[in-house]
Subunit: 404 residues, 2 copies
């Protein structure tokens, strides 16, 4: 029998929602619970051609071990891509290729967090990040947010309090664009203020940007990375939402010294990310497939988002509100304060519809009356029907508040 | 500027040999320093056909997110493979797919090590493992070894001492087959004794088996996993040496409960290993390509090993000895005690030949007079010429021991 486990094991919870999600795997359930891209947009033929080409011309790079920091020709493509798409001008040394964003988050946790270190996150925040930071033993402090992102006053107040306690806040973690779980985008004004305050406190900002390129409408906002003058921000990206998740491919950008430190950590995590998979994405960018592919994704997800909003408007009773995301994969529903989305989950499953309970995204376990809906994976028909079912569940519990 | 780093950063050293290895990248140097498989054996056409097939028939699995524990059909192939090759009978629940062995090592470090926890390793031991365990803050204790593996008396003595100090040794880490760096295989007798003692002390055994299938000659030894009756052993495998490293694909086997804990940890590391890459290996096994491919690798590496042994016999002066590995990728050279392979490294580079200094594999920094030679990557001609050059370097320093 295996014994002697570390405290990491105690601190790393198997996501509570995993158990709930098992209930949603019945085939007749319409699930808004996942975060999967629509597999119908995967550019299979392009990938097939790219791979055949790589195996013919670059197999000894693709199939061999690669440099920990990433395959140079891929990083050079990324430099061009980031310059063109974000107006951020980097050298390859500012980029670390990661085995998708989740590894980026793990590297951030490992690089910054000693047990009991305070960090700041949004209320609510991305569950996968909360789990990593928790596994490293962080003291996770939530900053209140609304439909324009984090509340700057609360952010400043939390930092001030920590300073008065002589505690060093290690970083603030944010998803500024089409946030997971809320779909909210941080306003430009707040971005500027956040950076100003974080510089005052010498606070690193971790900017997680998995959905940024998937903008349906509204105005372009510069990345925190750019607005900070490349100073105290590390930004994480992934190809999971704009290409395919199955390659497990992402990257982080940051000051050269920080990237070097992360690269040393990554060496002991997995030596390197699959060079084959890096070259696939590299050729996808180089071949000029990216723009039209993302345009296709945007078109499909925007239509799905619109169907979801239309159905919410049509079916949801008064007292229920939701966000109207300008991009991404998710929107956020707020039920009346007295309602409990956790309890309601079982009624929803009975009605053959599923969501993720909002409380799991709150580091302080608040948000009992909230829930997250994904619109990228289900079809438009399923979205319409699913929201109809969900609205029925909500109405049933509205009628019987004593149960809540 | 980014600040606020954790103690992981201090504990994770950029491999000292990385700097040395930079010296070896000149094209006219014959390098025995790497650990790369020979790219000429990569089965490129088979991989091409397999991928085309996957993208045609299973693209929605291959390119989507997958289960953290691994793609079920791949794990089912692994169950069959392990049963056939090792006589070990498992369920899919005993297997966790990893992003190659290095991630397996990281999971082991994370799952078991709190800062200052003692662990046992071989003297010498695999550098990549030492680095991971160090990054988690382990108190790494070396067990002496010879050409039959670890010395059982020293193993028992170290455990006894720790027990008397009321310290819990978290695990013993071993590469029992064709060890990296020595090429040594642990004898059957010692395997039995190691297991007996480890059970007495309730000590988990971590068995790292990256080269096991690459046996050139000699008798088959059962794995520690099998000899322990599947009780207190976790074993790590990789496809890097028997297929291609570029897929970054491996797996660990262990008791179901341990695998579940590791799987929870892996969720926060990278969510899942590339399903595309898992399916490639799965189809490689399923298609029956494995046996003939490994046979080819064995044939090529055995010839290279024989050339290296022949050249060592022919050129090395008296007082220098080396191991005669029955498999794997490495052999180990012992210089006379007074010699310093670290200092000699620069002479070797001057003579256009490179190796890895032996001291980096020793957790106690001993082994100054040792070095590791890789025979899988260089060609037979390069091996012969390189050993000739190396012997010259050794002889030059033999003649001038006062410099040492």
């Amino acid at each position: 029998m295996i014994k002697n486990y570390s405290s990491f094991i105690d601190r790393t919870k198997s996501s509570a929602i995993r158990e709930l999600l098992k209930l949603t795997s019945q085939p007749d359930i319409i699930s808004f619970a996942g975060g999967l891209p629509d597999p119908n947009v995967f550019p299979i033929e392009i990938i097939n051609d790219i791979i055949a080409n790589i195996l013919q011309n670059k197999s000894k790079v693709a199939l061999q071990y690669g440099a920990t920091e990433g395959v140079l020709e891929f990083k050079q493509e990324l430099v061009k891509f980031i310059s063109k798409s974000e107006g951020i001008n980097l050298k390859p040394e500012n980029i670390l290729v990661t085995s998708a964003s989740q590894q980026g988050l793990d590297l951030i946790g490992k690089a910054f967090i000693n047990v009991s270190d305070p960090i700041l996150v949004e209320l609510p925040s991305y569950l996968g990040a909360l789990q990593v930071f928790q596994s490293y033993g962080a003291d996770i402090i939530g900053v209140k947010s609304d439909d324009d992102g984090v509340l700057i006053d609360d952010f400043a107040a939390k930092l001030d309090l920590l300073k008065r306690q002589n505690a060093t806040c290690k970083f603030v973690y944010l998803v500024p664009d089409f946030q997971n779980p809320t779909g909210v985008t941080m306003s430009v004004e707040r971005r500027h203020k956040l950076i100003e305050i974080s510089k005052h406190y010498d606070l690193p900002i971790i900017e997680d940007s998995p959905y940024r390129q998937v903008r349906f409408e509204g105005d372009h906002c510069d990345m925190l990375y750019k607005l900070s003058n490349y100073d105290n921000v590390i930004s994480l990206f992934t190809f999971s939402k704009i290409f395919v998740p199955g390659l497990r491919l992402g990257y982080m950008i940051g000051p050269e010294e920080a990237i070097m430190k992360m690269s040393t950590l990554k060496q002991s995590l997995d030596l390197c990310t699959s060079p084959l998979n890096q070259l696939i994405a590299s050729e996808f960018l180089k071949g000029g497939y990216f723009d039209s592919h993302v345009k296709e994704i945007i078109g499909i997800y925007k239509k799905k988002k619109d169907v979801m909003l239309r159905a919410l408007n049509e079916f949801m009773p008064e007292g229920v509100s939701w966000t109207t995301p300008e991009g991404g994969l998710f929107l956020w529903v707020r039920l009346p304060e007295y309602m409990d989305a956790n309890q309601m989950f079982y009624n929803a499953v009975d009605e053959k519809v599923a969501y993720v309970i909002g409380s799991v995204f709150h580091c302080d376990n608040s948000g009992l009356n909230t829930l997250r809906l994904n619109f990228s994976y289900p079809s438009e028909e399923e979205i319409y029907e699913g929201i109809k079912r969900l609205a029925k569940v909500v109405k049933d519990r509205l009628k019987t508040p004593s149960k809540a």
